[in-house]
């Protein structure tokens, strides 16, 4: 059987040449010149609807362009603009009809630089709760429900297109997938789409024009890669658990040996002499003020051949005492010179100096834990703001 082709046909309205790309699948075709909608199954191309358009919209992807998509090569053969009117505002998106003579029809929808490659479903979605639906094993959340009006058409379609035609459109999302129901009195047509970026679409069609920029977050746009907070949480919590385990090990092995403990009367400088044992580690210096007043103490830790370690501290009265940590001290014989100054007039009163060797500190663990949790917390915040932006556009 010869390939049926409607060729050499002219628009009965303006005489412009009519070309059919989907062979006898075409039911209606729009004259590219005068935008009249014609009956593609009528040998005389009877006029179905005279042009109602005020303006001629030029599709970004020219009709007749072929692109490589999942499932094969498809050619753009039809284009329509559909509009939802809401609170006096008009929201329009575009739909390209794609065709392959063996694999059939697909759709490419675009709104503000966000694309979906769509095909009709041959399974029935089932209700999943009062509003959501389930297809095979995926739950789709309802996103929008509105009446869409066809406001501009170009090219050919396997159905009767009409400017002004209205269809109830309900969208459900499970990013990166979208599920749409178009309801007419005759039937509900379900279709499923996969999100695509302008760059991916332009690459599929090998277009050289600049791809349109995406504005905002689209209803089924996948969260950017790296924003998966759950895996970050897992990693961070695992490292945190390891850090706590190491800290516990270090903490439990600290010797905490008291190398010096002596009580003094305020006023006279003292010089404590003691032996520090073991490997290089810290020395904890505790000063317990029992004078009943705050006091100021100057310390100087000395050892032959070592630069003296000098520091001063304000030591308040009572409590468990003031603790100073002197890190990285070698073993050997040390002298600690202490000058404790009391407020004027105070000449009696006791204070205690105690030195402990190898007292592990847990301060670094808390610091490490906080640092470890910052990335997942930030990611969670970022992901939730992405989801907020997505659902800000929902009317359900």
């Amino acid at each position: 059987m010869p390939v049926p082709k409607v060729s050499g046909l002219n628009c009965p309205n303006c005489g412009g040449a009519i070309e059919l790309r989907s062979f006898s699948n075409a039911t209606s075709v729009v004259c590219q010149n005068c935008l009249s909608i014609l009956d593609a199954r009528d040998p005389n191309l009877a006029i179905l609807q005279r042009a109602k358009h005020k303006e001629h919209i030029v599709p970004d992807i020219p009709l007749g362009t072929r692109g490589a998509f999942a499932g094969g090569t498809f050619e753009t053969i039809g284009f329509q603009v559909r509009t939802v009117y809401e609170d006096g505002e008009a929201f329009s998106w575009q739909e390209y009809l794609l065709f392959n003579p063996y694999k059939g029809f697909r759709y490419l929808t675009v709104y503000q630089g966000h694309w979906n490659f769509v095909r009709t479903l041959n399974t029935l979605p089932q209700a999943d709760g009062p509003k959501n639906v389930r297809v095979l094993n995926t739950t789709f959340k309802i996103f929008s429900n509105a009446v869409a009006t066809t406001t501009f058409v170009l090219g050919e379609f396997p159905w009767m297109v009409k400017v002004g035609e209205q269809v109830q459109c309900t969208d459900y999302v499970a990013p990166p997938k979208i599920l749409s129901a178009e309801t007419t009195p005759e039937e509900i047509v379900w279709s499923m789409g996969d999100y695509m970026t302008s760059e991916e679409v332009w690459q599929a069609f090998k277009l050289t024009t600049p791809p349109p920029r995406a504005i905002g977050v689209f209803e089924n746009q996948p969260a950017p890669i790296g924003e998966k907070a759950s895996s970050l949480w897992r990693t961070s919590l695992m490292i945190a658990a390891a850090a706590v385990a190491i800290a516990f090990l270090i903490y439990s092995t600290g010797s905490r040996k008291v190398v010096y403990h002596q009580s003094y009367t305020i006023g006279t400088p003292i010089s404590a002499s003691f032996e520090v044992p073991g490997h290089n580690s810290n020395l904890e210096l505790k000063t317990i003020n029992q004078t009943g007043q705050p006091m100021y103490v100057e310390y100087s830790l000395e050892k032959p051949g070592m630069k003296p370690i000098k520091f001063g501290r304000q030591v308040s009265f009572g409590g468990g005492g003031d603790v100073a940590d002197i890190p990285s001290i070698d073993s050997g014989h040390y002298v600690l010179n202490v000058v404790a100054e009391a407020p004027a007039g105070l000449t009696t009163g006791q204070y205690v100096i105690e030195l402990k060797r190898d007292v592990p500190s847990l301060g670094w663990v808390f610091g490490a834990l906080i640092l470890l949790l910052i990335p997942p917390i930030l990611q969670s915040l970022r992901a939730s703001s992405f989801e907020r932006a997505r659902w800000a556009g929902s009317d359900c």
């Binding site: 390939v3 003579p101 041959n122 399974t123 029935l124 979605p125 005759e186 039937e187 509900i188």
Partner: protein, 210 residues
């Protein structure tokens, strides 16, 4: 393979499928029905309407690891388009139907009705039937015209005009059609299929696409 001569033009007519009841003469387009050993001309196929099915008589494919070949078809048209019911014969002699509705494919087999169905004038969208453990819902009811036949069919089919078809779908991709064009009503059950999954060979060629 059974051979005979067309009672109208004398051309040789062969049956690929021994159970075929009807065929068309490839030369004079007579519709021929087997009566015992003879072929009887019951009508003539008008020029088939132009269609763009990639399937043709002789197209081969596989379904569930069984090979089949297209040996006949019925063409239907309705208000918004048309479709082909390709009669296919499997290698083991089983006969099935591959429907092509603007490249939406479904493969079905004739089944006896497992339960009652509404009359043609009462069937409507959203009615449901629980058959063989599956929940079938009527997805669309189509009033179609018989537009022509070609090749071998398992029954006489040449004098039909308008008929009602109710398409059935399930949540797991099963497909069915209640066909009210015959008396009694006939049921076809199967599944929606992807073009690529049928591994078709000897398909039609389309200018600019091969």
């Amino acid at each position: 393979m059974i051979s005979a001569n067309c009672p109208n033009c004398g051309a040789p007519v062969t049956f690929k499928w021994s159970s075929a009841v009807q065929t068309t003469c490839p030369f004079c387009n007579s519709i021929l029905v087997r009566r015992d050993v003879n072929l009887e001309k019951v009508g003539v196929v008008a020029d088939l309407p132009p269609d763009s099915s990639p399937i043709q008589i002789g197209t081969e494919g596989t379904y569930m690891n069984k090979s089949f070949v297209a040996i006949g078809r019925i063409i239907y048209e309705y208000e918004l388009g048309g479709w082909n019911e390709w009669h296919i014969m499997f290698s083991d002699g089983v006969s099935g139907w591959l429907s092509d509705a603007q490249c939406n494919y479904a493969l079905t087999f004739m089944e006896s009705l497992p339960g009652p169905v509404p009359e043609a004038n009462a069937v409507q969208r959203d009615q449901a039937f629980d058959w063989n453990g599956h929940h079938y819902e009527v997805s669309v009811v189509t009033k179609a015209h018989y537009k022509g036949v070609e090749g071998e069919l398992p029954f006489e089919y040449w004098d039909h005009h308008e008929a009602i078809f109710a398409d059935l779908r399930t949540i797991d991709g099963r497909f069915g059609t209640i066909d009210y064009s015959q008396r009694p009503t006939v049921l076809y059950l199967g599944a929606g299929v992807d073009y690529d999954d049928l591994h078709l060979k000897n398909v039609r060629q389309f200018e600019g696409w091969n």
